[in-house]
Amino acid sequence: MIAGQGDSVGDPVGSGIVLAVAFAYFLCGCVALAAQGASLLALHAFAAFVVLSVVSASNQLVPVLTGARPLPPRGVLTMAAPFAAGFALLLAAFAGAGGLFPAAGILLLAGAALWSVWTVARIARAPLEGQTRAAVTIAAAAFLVAAGLGAAMALALGGRAAPGLLALAPAHASLAVVAFASTLIVAISYRFVPMFALAHTDEGRWTRSAQWLVAGAGVLGAAAAAWPAWQRAAFALAVVAALAAMAVHLRTLRARLRKRLDVSLRYAAAAWVSAVAAGLCAVAATWRPGAGSSAVALAVLGWLALSIIGYAFKIVGFLAWEHARRVAPDASLPPLGEAVPMRAANAALALLAVGALAVAAALGAAPGLLRSAAAVYAAGGVSAVVILWSVAWRYVGARA
């Protein structure tokens, strides 16, 4: 069997290594959440997980979908290095080494500028997927602005700028969580859901409206951070976007050719419900600010993390399979369709989904239960990472 015959668009090693670093940050976030409860350290460990997952995935998926050229392994590692180092400094700063805030902010801004410019430059000349390329461009611009606001706040936290800059936090969060990460996941899901379900695609004029709604909601939420009525409109728009995306995906799933629902899509379904709940909590927070923490928990632990982990169940096995096929072209590899142990993956999903919901509920109504809720989530997170590692090792360890 000859995979790609030397014409394959990318060597998956670089993306695989970056994804492994992303999951190390995810574990760090789980541990911090269980040990300390809700903290900026835990939140930014999860942010590192999201950002590095995007860097990893975009090097493989954007080229596959759009026809753009991917980076070789060394290139994607270089692109990810400022984020890996910058977030390490940021977490150390939140852990007590406050003098590291300015360096962390500047490093992360430099990384964001490098990644955003490179991403937009290469997809601008790509021949396919105009709507996906437009969504990625908007997300990259939002990411760059979010990193700029983050760097300003890091300078303020490090005593190098006015403390008043910390008021930028809601705008930073809206751009990072909604306009950047959510827009990308919504856009990519229009391809992943039918691919993983093996379903015919019927793309009409309004099919991809959710990606524009969520991008608009993120930008409006950031621009109107000081005006509750406009923020309410932005988060209501995000809820509409989540419902619109869910409606399209449910229609796709009803027409799927694979009878058994793929593990990635089970996680995605839980993520969509979390997205709607997060949006509703964000709307409520414009009247009752206490609900804001619950909204962030549902958005990050539920929507973003479950989407990424779910898709990773498919992508990690696939990248490891591709690597094994390159290293050992004649090796007998286990079928990818049976790579993920379904019972264990479902159990991890139950722990993660219940944990995310419980953390959000505890933050809003029962702070005494927060650590227990966080422990449930962390148990699910550790289980998911162990399963992903075992899936990858089945292929990486294969030899002819």
Partner: protein, 72 residues
């Protein structure tokens, strides 16, 4: 000997994969399927291997050319 030719250019994923797998599953006996595609069908390769099929995929001036062989 079956011979199937597909032009999957202009189709969004996963339509090319569905069309190729459907054609291969309907093929009785040995045969060859060739397909033209806009994108390298990377998610298709493990599916082909799981079916015990041999394949090559080559980048061309515009898109990719896939050739799948089914034995007896």
């Amino acid at each position: 000997m079956n011979e199937i030719r597909l032009d999957n250019r202009g189709l969004h994923p996963p339509e090319p994969m569905i069309r190729i797998l459907t054609a291969l599953d309907a093929m009785t006996g040995p045969g060859v399927l060739t397909a033209l595609l806009d994108r390298e069908p990377r998610f298709l390769f493990p599916e082909l291997e799981a079916r015990g099929l041999t394949y090559t995929c080559v980048r061309e001036e515009v898109g990719y050319a896939l050739r799948v062989e089914r034995g007896a």
